[in-house]
């Protein structure tokens, strides 16, 4: 498919990596020619240098033949104007715009026809709700939900005190007291697709499929003591902090926000009357201590500097904060970061890709496309959710008799609204939702692709 990406920043680059890898024809527009030069050398794409909202630049990027425009520059207004102009030049085009300013949220949904956008994405808001979900069940490093929230894939780290250390997967259900399936394990930076005899050891990171209702049981039985989060400390008062705080305040959690910029503090204080806004430098140890980092239930680092976020998080863990969440804007979850104790890592650009990629796959392949796509295990594996239509193959055949391709496993089958963690005798039928986990860079666009 011919796709134009306007803006080659963090999200643009992440999208280019993903979509070029899936074999789409990409043209990336940006004003910075050095950045474009870099992109050309990294990915198989073409670039156009110029203002993406200008008609001439869009024509230069052959917008009349493109099927999709993804506007992800840093400015909301430019993104919107870009989509409108592109729509004027090519009425059939699909457009996705990144709009982050909370003031625009309502009008985007009410007037999406006027702005000519097919989908608006707000990575900041998504990130905030992702963090909120993590706070609800502390103990999981990452949660990806499927089938309208019925099923989740959660990330658990095997700590020395964990009951999981040293047991094999066959015995795991007995230990955790509920039905779960380990769909991937990260050990020493490599992703492994484990079988029943796989023995877990300290330091492994597990990606576990479980019914949402069983999550609390799971946590309790593996020896992670759950505590209710009552007080949260947020470092950095950007847009994510705003979205997150307003959600947390609604559920009755105390929020402290530390922000360096005085004007921003005033703005936050006026928008969030119930939050405690503190003007100060969150890298200062004495400030963190005087604001009670010892007594907070969760520490969330959301400043614009990745390195600072990591340092504060490490300090928080050292101080014994029970739950620490670190936002990384630029850095990928590389092997250096994996070995640092910075708690859960959350990346807005990854959130954005997780929304856009399924949309692209759906346009490309209207029927049978994945309903949602989540990158798990640091991007080494992918979890896809399919709603089975009439042409799904091998319905009502036990899974043990199916010939699946390598690196594919069926992680969950949802019959109506009952999730089933499948065994060898499980079957699926038309109308069910199936969650498939793929590894090894295999790109699956349709359910039937999983068969040999």
């Amino acid at each position: 498919m011919k796709i134009v990406i306007a803006g080659g920043g963090k999200v643009g680059t992440a999208l280019a990596k993903q979509l070029a890898g899936e074999g789409h024809d990409l043209i990336i527009i940006d004003v910075n020619s050095l950045l474009l030069e870099n992109l050309i050398e990294k990915f198989d794409v073409m670039t156009v240098c110029g203002n993406c909202a200008a008609k001439e630049t869009l024509e230069h990027a052959n917008i009349s033949e493109a099927e999709l425009l993804i506007a992800v520059t840093s400015q909301d207004e430019v993104n919107l104007l870009c989509c409108m102009t592109a729509h004027g030049l090519n009425p059939d085009i699909h457009t996705i715009a990144r709009v982050r300013n909370p003031e625009y949220t309502d009008q985007i949904y009410e007037m999406s026809d006027l702005f000519a956008i097919s989908m608006a994405v707000n990575p900041d808001k998504q990130t905030a709700s992702e963090i909120e979900r993590l706070l609800k069940l502390p103990g999981f490093l990452k949660r990806d939900s499927f089938a309208k929230g019925l099923v989740e894939i959660v990330e658990i780290k095997v700590t020395p005190s964990s009951k999981l250390s040293g047991i094999s997967l066959n015995d795991m259900s007995k230990t955790v007291g509920c039905n779960v399936l380990v769909c991937a394990v990260l050990r020493d930076g490599a992703s492994i697709a484990p079988d029943g005899h796989f023995v877990l050891s300290e330091g492994d990171r597990l990606f576990v499929t479980a019914s949402t209702n069983d999550l609390a049981t799971l946590l309790k039985n593996i020896g992670i003591i759950t505590h209710k989060v009552r007080r949260v400390m947020i470092c950095g008062g950007g847009r994510i902090a705003y979205y997150l705080s307003s959600a947390l305040i609604k559920s009755g959690i105390d929020v402290d926000i530390i922000e360096q910029n005085n004007d921003r503090c005033v703005a936050l204080a006026s928008m969030l009357p119930k939050a405690t806004v503190i003007h100060g430098d969150s890298s200062s140890q004495s400030l963190l201590e005087s604001e009670g980092i010892d007594s907070t239930d969760a520490l969330i680092t959301l400043t614009g500097i990745d390195e600072l976020n990591m340092i504060i998080s490490m300090y928080g863990i050292q101080k014994g904060v029970k739950q620490v969440i670190t936002k990384l804007g630029h850095l990928d979850s590389s092997s250096i970061i994996r070995n640092l104790s910075i708690g859960s890592v959350i990346s807005p650009k990854e959130q954005c890709c997780n929304t856009i990629v399924p949309y692209v796959r759906a346009i490309n392949n209207q029927k049978g496309a994945a309903v949602s796509v989540h990158q798990i295990a640091d991007g080494e594996a992918e979890a896809l959710e399919f709603l089975l239509s009439e042409d799904a193959l091998n319905c009502d055949i036990p899974l043990k008799d199916l010939k699946l391709r390598d690196n594919i496993r069926i992680a969950c089958i949802i019959h109506g609204s009952t999730p089933e963690i499948p065994g060898g005798n499980s079957t699926y039928s038309v109308g069910d939702t199936v969650i498939v986990v793929t590894g090894g860079g295999l790109a699956i666009s349709q359910f039937n692709d999983i068969f040999r």
């Binding site: 011919k2 990596k17 070029a20 890898g21 024809d25 990409l26 043209i27 020619s33 992109l39 050309i40 050398e41 990294k42 990915f43 198989d44 794409v45 073409m46 860079g441």
Partner: protein, 483 residues
């Protein structure tokens, strides 16, 4: 450096080369030339074996290819390809000296057309065919071909370095987003134009074998003739067809792509195309006036002038007449055309019109800057602003170009031939033309030069085809340092 990945690439190139040699084998079988066919078969076997063994040892090469690796990989593969591709000449003893055989092969792949053979007609058809076909293979580039058929399993655009290193021009870009699609469009245009040329030559009553070899020489802008007198003895129709097609293959191929997608305006407005056509027509006019007394009719005068100008400017090197006998002005014009060369993104060599335009515009800017030091100026090409990096590259290209010419002439002069011969020999090789003046004129060959000079000229041919830097990188100690 990523040696395994480079080895993997070179092994694939050898396999492609082996496949490209098979048609020559068939020609040999058809004409019943046991000696040539046997040596061809042995060479193919050797090349396949070398490619296979290299490929086996490097089979688990990991991706991760940077600019440096790309350049080194391209240079090495051209050297390896030439060193093994010349085996048929050497094994069959049709060119008894290995240095001569390498010279001839490099001359073929780099589309130079400089030959050490004084009597081409004595060669077997099988080897003649391979000699001419090597022009066609080298014209668009073997790596470009590899990129057109090979889809890298690695996600990433690392192959862009390979395209940049092998394609001529100051600023290599893509036509469409995917590198595989870009290169396959280039090759399709190339094949289509070649086929049209062959058909038109056949229409003029040319024998099939001659038509194929001439068309390959024209398409790659190579210039190996299969007759001692090049194209002289063919009919005026064939000469005119060849004139036109040489000029066509000297045009930037992206112009043809723009024609295909019906952007006629952009083609007409293309500055490089205008410069190219302008210089060519001007040169034809001047030469025709200058040589009006040499030939009896106006038709003959214009035909020879047009053919020679087109042949030299596109760096092909075919001849319909011995231009060494022309007046000094015409010979000088031809020498200048040798340096200018064809368009960027074509199969021709030389300094390239695009780069010439950039250097001139930059010169103009620097002069005006001397007069008004605070004036800010950008340089544009086809309306687009040209980056300073591209200008800088064009300038250092010119510097490297002059230095290489000076040192090559110096070394070649040891053989004690006339300055005119030496200079024209170096220019003709460096710009991938073929025939020069005096003892390397269109009716003569490079056989008189010593082995040392031949090696220098071989280096010049490779440097000219790969646009100097990829080859110079091999000599930089920085390149081989372990990191």
């Amino acid at each position: 450096m990523n040696y395994k990945m480079m080895g993997k690439f070179i092994s694939r190139i050898l396999l492609v080369e082996g496949v490209f040699m098979i048609p020559a084998l068939i020609v040999g079988l058809y004409y019943r030339e046991p000696n040539a066919t046997a040596s061809m078969a042995i060479s193919i076997a050797v090349i396949f074996a070398a490619g296979g063994i290299l490929g086996f040892f490097c089979r688990n090469g990991k991706s991760g290819f940077y600019a440096k690796d790309g350049f080194v990989c391209v240079s090495l593969s051209w050297i390896v390809m030439s060193a093994l591709g010349c085996l048929p000449f050497y094994i069959s003893r049709e060119i008894p000296s290995y240095v001569d055989a390498v010279f001839e092969m490099v001359s073929g792949f780099t589309t130079t057309g400089a030959s050490v053979l004084t009597n081409v007609e004595a060669m077997s058809k099988c080897l003649l065919y391979w000699r001419s076909f090597s022009h066609w293979v080298g014209g668009m580039g073997v790596l470009v071909f590899l990129l057109a058929i090979y889809s890298p399993s690695e996600k990433g655009g690392f192959t862009m370095h390979l395209l940049r290193a092998e394609s001529p021009g100051p600023d290599v870009g893509k036509l469409v987003p995917k590198i595989k699609a870009t290169t396959s469009i280039l090759y399709r245009i190339y094949v289509a134009l070649t086929i049209i040329d062959i058909l038109l030559l056949l229409l003029g009553g040319m024998p099939v074998f001659d038509a194929l070899c001439t068309a390959f020489g024209t398409a790659g802008t190579g210039g190996f003739g299969i007759k001692n007198d090049s194209i002289t003895s063919y009919s005026p129709y064939i000469q005119n067809v060849t004139t036109v097609f040489m000029a066509l293959f000297g045009v930037n191929f992206s112009c043809y792509y723009l024609l295909l997608v019906k952007q006629f305006k952009n083609v007409l407005k293309d500055e490089e195309l205008r410069t190219y056509v302008g210089i060519m027509l001007g040169a034809i006019g001047l030469v025709a006036i200058n040589i009006r007394d040499v030939y009896p009719t106006i038709e003959e005068t214009v035909r020879h002038a047009a053919f020679q100008v087109s042949s030299i400017m596109t760096t092909t090197g075919f001849a319909t007449t011995d231009f060494d006998q022309w007046p000094a002005l015409s010979k000088t014009i031809l020498l200048i055309l040798m340096v200018i060369g064809a368009s960027a993104g074509s199969t021709g060599g030389g300094f390239k019109c695009a780069r010439l335009l950039l250097v001139f515009k930059n010169l103009k800017r620097n002069i005006s800057r001397t007069i008004r030091p605070n004036k800010v100026q950008v340089i544009r090409n086809n309306g687009q602003v040209v980056g300073e990096q591209v200008l800088d590259n064009a300038n250092s290209f010119m510097a490297a170009y002059v230095i290489i010419v000076i040192f090559s002439v110096l070394i070649v002069s040891i053989d004690n031939f006339s300055i005119e011969s030496n200079l024209s020999a170096v220019l003709a090789c460096f710009n991938n033309i073929g025939p020069g003046l005096d003892i390397v004129g269109p009716t003569c060959a490079y056989n008189l030069y010593s082995d040392l000079s031949k090696l220098v000229l071989t280096f010049d041919m490779l440097a000219g085809r790969l646009e100097i830097f990829p080859l110079l990188i091999l000599f930089s100690p920085d390149c081989w340092k372990r990191k």
